[in-house]
């Protein structure tokens, strides 16, 4: 079985050996590129998304007052209504720092992300622990005007991956140390990337419209491209102080993180 073939192997020419190794190198390169693409486009959204979620949970934990945990447990079953108090205004910290938490039940039962100051691509949007950023030129959280955020729709954890799944009436919650702001999703809009008017105090309008608190989420459209932007608008629907417990819809998730 061996004698007729073995000698011929030894006689392999230099050219054959070079061709063989080149082939292996090329196959390896192809496999690596395939692996990279599946990581970048699919796997990493879960890997990095989980890390962003974890860092948000860690921040939520810091804000939980230790004595309030029993009160919150008692209220877990009751329906929590928004308060009549005026919501507090959160003055944003230095760029790249997380200062609030975003809960969107439509994006999944475990979904929570930090909101960081600024929309720098490398330090905020691509970050393994941040992901969602506030436009520096938009209004402060809790204040009248437009609280505008950006995040990736695909890749780098894809915090706004399901932005197209939002339905009218969906709640968007923003947690701060004092409690929870709630916004009600109103509509989506598709614009060019140059349409910065979506960040206006009242989106798209030049003049001031007093008395409105708006949340604006911006992301890429269509998925996996950067040619357009998808915009989601929400209107303020209530303020939930921390003493009163979290909004019913996210109460379980908040308790889980405490």
């Amino acid at each position: 079985m061996s004698s007729p073939t073995r000698p011929s192997i030894r006689k392999r020419t230099k050219l054959m050996r070079v061709t063989g190794v080149t082939g292996e190198v090329l196959i390896t390169a192809g496999a690596l590129m395939g692996l990279f693409l599946s990581w970048h486009l699919v796997l990493n959204d879960t890997i990095q998304g989980d890390r962003q979620n974890q860092s948000a949970s860690a921040l939520a934990q810091q804000w939980q007052a230790p004595e309030s945990s029993s009160a919150e447990q008692n209220q877990a079953a009751a329906i929590v209504n928004p308060s009549n108090e005026e919501p507090p205004v959160t003055v944003s910290p230095a760029e790249g720092e997380a200062f609030a938490l975003l809960y969107v039940p439509r994006f999944g039962p475990e979904y929570v992300r930090t909101i960081a100051e600024g929309v720098d691509v490398e330090s905020v949007l691509n970050s393994r622990r941040l992901g969602v950023g506030r436009y520096l030129e938009s209004d402060q959280l809790g204040d009248y005007g437009n609280f505008a955020l950006a995040a990736h729709r695909t890749t780098f954890g894809a915090p706004f991956g399901d932005i197209g799944e939002l339905r009218v009436g969906d709640q968007i919650y923003v947690e701060v140390p004092e409690g929870w702001h709630a916004y009600e999703f109103r509509n989506l809009e598709y614009v060019w990337e140059t349409d910065v008017q979506v960040l206006n105090s009242f989106p798209k309008l030049q003049e001031e419209v007093p008395g409105y608190r708006v949340i604006t989420l911006t992301s890429c459209h269509p998925k996996f491209t950067v040619s357009e932007r998808v915009i989601a608008y929400g209107l303020y629907s209530g303020w939930y102080p921390r003493d009163g417990g979290p909004p019913t819809e996210i109460a379980d998730l908040v308790k889980e993180n405490s």
């Binding site: 190794v21 990493n44 929309v119 490398e122 691509n126 890749t155």
Partner: protein
């Protein structure tokens, strides 16, 4: 290339397969944790903001 690696690894076929699996896991981990993030950050850092 791979033939040389196969010859280099000690032990029988079973042991060699185990070693290859370990090497593969380490390589994939290094790629996912450091190499791929760096490539993505450097080459494919797309904008998702309006500006």
């Amino acid at each position: 290339m791979y033939a040389a690696l196969w010859r280099l690894l000690p032990g029988g076929v079973f042991l060699k397969l185990i070693q290859l699996t370990i090497i593969l896991v380490i390589v994939v981990f290094v790629l996912f944790e450091w190499v791929f993030p760096w490539i993505a950050q450097t080459l494919l850092s797309e904008q998702s903001t309006v500006e």
